[in-house]
């Protein structure tokens, strides 16, 4: 008998998931296998939300919070009671390669993670800035704002990390020691947003202003328990199979196009910009 490399039994490998690029589920799984050493440490002990597209991205996908029936027993899950106490959700925890492969085999393109881990649900270990450009503003303007933000954070003593959202924006994260509340994190991000908006009229800090053309919104609202963000190295359900990719600040300075970081290119990247992010939890 051949050796068992994984507990997962692959199914429908030749199913097309990204029709425009003719990318199959096999390639989707291969991507997650290859990216495993980079993505697994970040996903560790986080209650995941999957965005599944069993029939490809041109058909409806769905978000899955609750581990589906038929989830193998070796997949770690955790029951979390909602804040209102009304619902209990059995979330998937992806701490090993087999679980990651199993998730990919569900045609789960996107992985969304909360900003806290299961052992300290109410204390974030990341502060999160979502830099969201409203057309005609593009990634270029978002990059400019991100660099301003980076400098501002640096001045007050925080080292920040940037990734593409995989769509049109950028995500900036500060890894912190999980000993402060989400409320405090949210207030902090909001305050920074307000300060930035005073310095640059294109930047907005309030949700009500986001739909104004050409503005860049510094979104603070995801800093809340139970909210999730696209995890670093998550594929996104867009036609070119773009990846939410951790970047060096120097890459932002030079200028990037989000779609250059996709299912084919990201696994070949030698840069590991977020390598030490989990060893750099800062006091907030």
């Amino acid at each position: 008998m051949s050796e068992e490399l994984t507990k997962v039994r692959f199914t429908n490998l030749n199913k097309i998931i990204f029709p425009q690029e003719k990318i199959t589920k096999k390639q989707l799984i291969k991507y997650y296998i290859k990216i495993a050493p980079k993505i697994l440490p970040i996903l560790k002990n986080r209650a995941l939300v999957l965005n599944r597209f069993p029939n490809g991205i041109n058909k409806n996908g769905f978000y899955e919070k609750n581990a589906a029936k038929g989830t193998p027993v070796w997949v770690k899950t955790t029951k979390i009671t909602s804040k209102t106490g009304k619902t209990k959700t059995n979330y998937i925890i992806c701490n090993d390669l087999d679980t990651l492969i199993w998730i990919a085999n569900l045609a789960s393109i996107e992985m969304h993670m909360p900003l806290s881990t299961i052992d300290k649900l109410e204390k974030p270990d990341f502060i999160f800035f979502d830099i969201d450009p409203e057309p005609p503003a593009t990634i270029k303007e978002a990059s400019t704002v991100s660099l301003l933000l980076r400098d501002k954070l640096k001045k007050i003593g925080f080292k920040s990390y940037i990734k593409t959202s995989g769509k049109k924006g950028l995500h900036i994260l500060i890894p912190i020691k999980p000993n402060k509340s989400f409320k405090l994190a949210r207030k902090f991000v909001h305050k920074i947003g307000i300060e930035l908006s005073k310095e640059n009229h294109k930047i907005v800090s309030e949700l009500s202003e986001t739909k104004k053309p050409g503005k860049i919104f510094v979104d603070y609202l995801q800093n809340a328990q139970g909210r999730t963000i696209a995890s670093p190295y998550s594929l996104r359900a867009n036609p070119k199979a773009v990846v939410s990719t951790p970047l060096e600040w120097s890459e932002i300075q030079k200028g990037i196009k989000p779609s250059q970081f996709n299912i084919n290119t990201v696994i070949k990247r030698e840069k590991t910009p977020w390598k030490n992010i989990l060893n750099n939890k800062q006091e907030f």
Partner: protein
């Protein structure tokens, strides 16, 4: 399941029956089938069948076939190890013969000694076959002899059964325990005459012909019903091993596993 007719089946043995200088070419077919229901062990957790492995009692490690030898336990935990070559040398020769030594009354052989029966068919020897069959039938006799099947030698009876010659292997006497070894039998008392008469009466009233078709394995029947019910509802589907198309993923997996190990 489709039952093949015996004639289309392959014989498990071909050879000849010899009585003195007379030879009767024959083919041997199995007669006894165990149709009891059988199950496989599954892993409760994922529904996959379990397999057996030979594990060394010293270190609990799996032992490959080429490291397996046979041993005979001469005293507790003392073994004489025997090489396959040595065992090969003493194997009885399969000489393709059923050597008949004598004829006995068929009913004089206690059924306790019957082991397993096989159907004998003529092998281009219908005349001689018919002759032997008819004479055994008429006299109620059975031929006593020996046969070597695979690596074992068995005493056999060749007798008539439902218009065919049937070969029944016979147990060695040392394989059958003597009930008189039980002390309890030594102290049995003779029954009283009146009680014996009552017992005889009961037996007589209940006397009938033996009818094999009255018996049916109720457990097998119920188990089959249970299986049918389960088939309609939920069953455990065994997934096939990873297919060829997953090969590329296996290559990627190996690389990633290596990387994760090196961390």
């Amino acid at each position: 399941m489709i039952e093949k007719t015996p004639s289309s089946k392959r014989p498990i043995w071909t050879g000849r029956l010899t009585i003195g200088l007379v030879n009767l070419p024959l083919k041997l077919f199995p007669m006894i089938h165990n149709k009891a229901i059988s199950f496989r062990f599954l892993h409760k957790i994922d529904g996959h069948p379990l397999k057996y492995q030979k594990v060394c009692t010293k270190d609990d490690k799996v032992v490959p076939w080429d490291e397996v030898a046979k041993g005979y336990e001469v005293s507790k935990n003392m073994y004489v190890m025997l090489e396959p070559k040595e065992l090969e040398a003493i194997k009885p020769e399969s000489n393709k013969k059923i050597r008949i030594a004598k004829f006995v009354d068929y009913l004089s052989v206690d059924p306790i000694y019957y082991n397993k029966s096989y159907i004998l068919m003529p092998d281009n020897s219908k005349e001689a076959y018919s002759l032997l069959l008819t004479s055994l039938q008429k006299k109620g006799k059975a031929a006593v002899g020996k046969i070597t099947l695979r690596t074992k030698e068995y005493p056999v009876l060749v007798h008539a059964y439902k218009g065919a010659l049937v070969l029944t292997t016979i147990r060695y006497s040392y394989d059958v325990a003597n009930p008189q070894e039980f002390k309890e039998l030594k102290t049995l008392e003779k029954p009283e005459k009146t009680q014996l008469e009552i017992a005889n009466k009961i037996i007589q009233d209940l006397s009938d012909e033996f009818e094999i078709n009255e018996f049916e394995d109720q457990y097998k029947k119920k188990a089959e019903q249970l299986i049918q019910q389960k088939l309609k509802g939920q069953t455990i589907k065994v997934e096939e091993p990873q297919k060829e198309e997953a090969k590329e993923l296996m290559v990627a997996l190996r690389e990633t596993l290596k990387q994760l190990q090196n961390k």
